[in-house]
Amino acid sequence: MDFTRRETLALGGAAALTFVLPFRANAATTEELVNEFTGGADIADAGVELTAPEIAENGNTVPITVSAPGASAIMVLATGNPTPPVATFNFGPLAASHEASTRIRLAGTQDVVAIAQLEDGSFARSAKTVKVTIGGCGG
């Protein structure tokens, strides 16, 4: 349990985001951003890997890794953040590894989405729910 008054208020705020506006608020934006990236093309479920923790140890700095062999670009969206775009990684033709790692800030529990443009020009998508929790009651 977390209980200083200041953090109580902060958590209350985060919780309001999580419970009252659970990444629906930005759903339209997410879709628009994806369409912009893919030009409306079909998106396959396989081809890009997104590694992220199931539960964030610290919502302010969540380590993620995206990887898509042969990809020319990978876009990462935090669908529940006030500003969903996180990064778009571009890989040149001589790139040895089509993988990138970074740390992102998450406003609350939400889906992180990675969309990759693959070698043949097609697109692939992967998503993972990352929980941002109060915690504090371990077994």
Partner: protein
């Protein structure tokens, strides 16, 4: 030709047969008042490898009572399957007679009277006898400790885990993994680990800054036993910085990291491992889920959720072993490994009936040596109990009801909160409550009892958050504890609902009024994960309360209404 899968299923049936007849024997023998050590240890040595598993001891060196839960709800794919089967349903599932020793050891129901008949369980000197007997059968058996070892008692707290380190070294384990150990602080953990005569493993213990495997905790260790190359991979508790105070070990990051687990399995197989054992502190449902995703693990020795199962659970080609907690059980698993394949297994969950199993004298002396400097404080009688005091259960236990009562009255609060941990032995009606007993259910390195104001809305946020850590349908999002215990307030929970919709009907008990989301309430609790939490230590609060009461009676608690189970 018989496939590997068939072999496993055949031997599973055989194992179930051994298990079942073992139980049947105990029942009959108990009826004749003739349960013996030989019966408990009876095992036809099998194959070429033996594993001995003990986990979640929580620093219980001496025999104790430990009541298993009557409420342990599973959700999603785990609804209604072990370990989420309790009491009479559990006995029916495994063919256990009512009133038998296995009833007492493995399931809830009639606990107080059975405890009087069968006595205490556990005691690391009894465990030593069992381990020595297995080693007499199979001298190179591997002894693996699943963690939560250096936490949970007065002496462990005051020696910062040294008492348990000394006693466990007497048992000579081969490897260990971790959870509550880290609440000693990372400097102390490293100090102990550097001197350990066995492997300290955790493939998911990472350096927080670099997000790379941490140097002090190797992912795996190889052993050559019975001519078989065995790799033991460690898996520490994944959610330590969330469920426990991360500021006590800021250099480390955890997580399930199943992709790294797969990489480690592939790595040890490439190095010639013929048998892969995962020594895990994930919790049973998380391990079950991991076993379906990570390929190539033969045995997962599970921990954290304190489940005791008399038979292995099979997931694909992986067997899962659940060995209970508090020194109450030891599992023996014999494997037949041929040409890099597990061709069969035989298993027995050995309950440590402390009046039946002869203590190992050397180990008794070692334990008493650790306790000697503290005996006066430990043995002081603070009060008596008229009620069974226990903790395990998803929503409440009488120990926590008593702790919440202590918080409400000693800290003058409207509402009390007590963390839903699963450790802490039981006391039976008529028992003295000693200082040691209070510390057994409260001791920790962040036991300060805070007192603060919270709005009704925020209290709901807390309950919803904790409930989702237990009842999220995907085990990977569960932290493996029980629900935060609440004093002074009732509520209704629908475990099947999503987060934000599970908790309704929050009621302040002293007025009978509904909790007002915008109103402030005085809340007293303990075990905050926040740095700088202020207040008296919880064991002092509880001791003061029990001293005033003299004899404790805990009324049945029906303030939580559960639906969707």
């Amino acid at each position: 030709m018989i496939s590997r899968r068939d072999f496993l299923q055949v031997s599973m049936a055989a194992s179930a047969l051994v298990g079942a007849s073992g139980f049947g024997n105990w029942s009959r023998l108990a009826a004749q008042q003739a349960l013996t050590q030989d019966q408990l240890l009876q095992f036809d040595t099998f194959g070429n490898v033996s594993l001995i598993h003990i986990t979640d001891i929580h620093a219980q060196m001496k025999p104790i009572y430990f009541r298993e839960p009557s409420v342990n709800i599973g959700v999603g794919d785990n609804r209604g399957v072990v370990p989420h089967v309790t009491g009479a349903d559990f006995r029916k599932l495994y063919g256990i007679d009512d009133g038998s020793p296995s009833h007492y050891a493995l399931s809830s129901g009639d606990f107080s009277s059975l405890a009087k008949a069968y006595g205490r369980v556990g005691g690391l000197d009894r465990v030593a006898t069992v381990v020595n007997a297995i080693r007499a059968d199979r001298p190179d058996a591997l002894l693996l400790d699943g963690g939560d070892t250096w936490h949970g008692s007065y002496t462990c707290h005051h020696t910062e885990g040294q008492d348990m380190v000394n006693v466990m070294n007497g048992l000579k384990p081969d490897a260990m993994t971790f959870h509550w150990e880290f609440t000693l602080g990372s400097d102390r953990v490293r100090e102990i680990v550097e001197g350990l005569p066995f492997a300290a493993l955790g493939q998911n213990i990472f350096d927080a800054e670099w997000d790379e495997p941490a140097e002090s905790f190797p992912p795996y260790q190889f052993f050559e036993r019975g001519g078989v190359k065995i790799a033991v991979i460690g898996q520490a508790f994944p959610y330590m910085p969330i469920a426990n105070p991360g500021w006590m070990f800021p250099e480390y990051s955890f997580g399930i990291r199943d992709e790294h687990m797969q990489a480690m399995v592939d790595e040890v197989r490439a190095q010639g491992a013929e048998c892969v054992v995962c020594l895990s502190h994930n919790g049973f449902d998380v391990d079950k889920s991991m076993a379906s995703k990570v390929k190539g693990i033969d045995v997962i020795l599970t921990g954290h959720t304190h489940d005791a199962l008399p038979e292995p659970v099979l997931v694909g080609d992986t067997i899962l072993i659940a060995s209970g907690s508090n020194g109450k059980f030891v599992s023996r698993v014999d494997l037949d490994i041929q040409n890099g394949r597990m061709m069969g297994f035989r298993h027995k969950l050995i309950p440590i009936f402390s009046d039946v199993i002869e203590p190992d004298a050397e180990m008794t002396a070692l334990i008493d040596e650790q306790r000697a400097p503290f005996m006066e404080e430990l043995s002081e009688v603070i009060g008596q109990t008229d009620s069974l005091l226990y903790r395990r259960g998803n929503f409440n236990g009488t120990w926590d009801d008593l702790i919440c009562d202590a918080l409400l009255s000693e800290r003058d609060a409207d509402i009390a909160m007590s963390p839903g941990v699963r450790w802490g032995p039981s006391l039976i009606p008529g028992d003295d409550i000693t200082r040691e007993d209070i510390w057994n259910v409260t001791s920790m390195s962040y036991g300060e009892a805070y007192r603060s104001e919270m709005t009704g809305e925020f209290i709901k946020v807390i309950l919803e958050d904790v409930a989702d850590n237990i009842f999220n349908p995907d085990p990977y999002y569960q932290q493996g504890g029980d629900m935060v215990r609440i004093g002074g307030m009732g509520y209704r929970i629908d475990v099947q609902k999503p987060q934000g919709e599970r908790i309704t009907d929050m009621t302040l008990l002293k007025t009978g009024e509904a909790i007002d989301p915008s109103k402030n309430y005085v809340v007293a609790g303990w075990a905050s994960v926040n740095e700088g939490t202020e207040g008296p230590q919880i064991w002092d609060v509880v001791e003061a309360h029990i001293k005033k009461r003299g004899t404790v009676t805990v009324q049945p608690n029906d303030s939580v209404t559960v639906v969707g189970a």
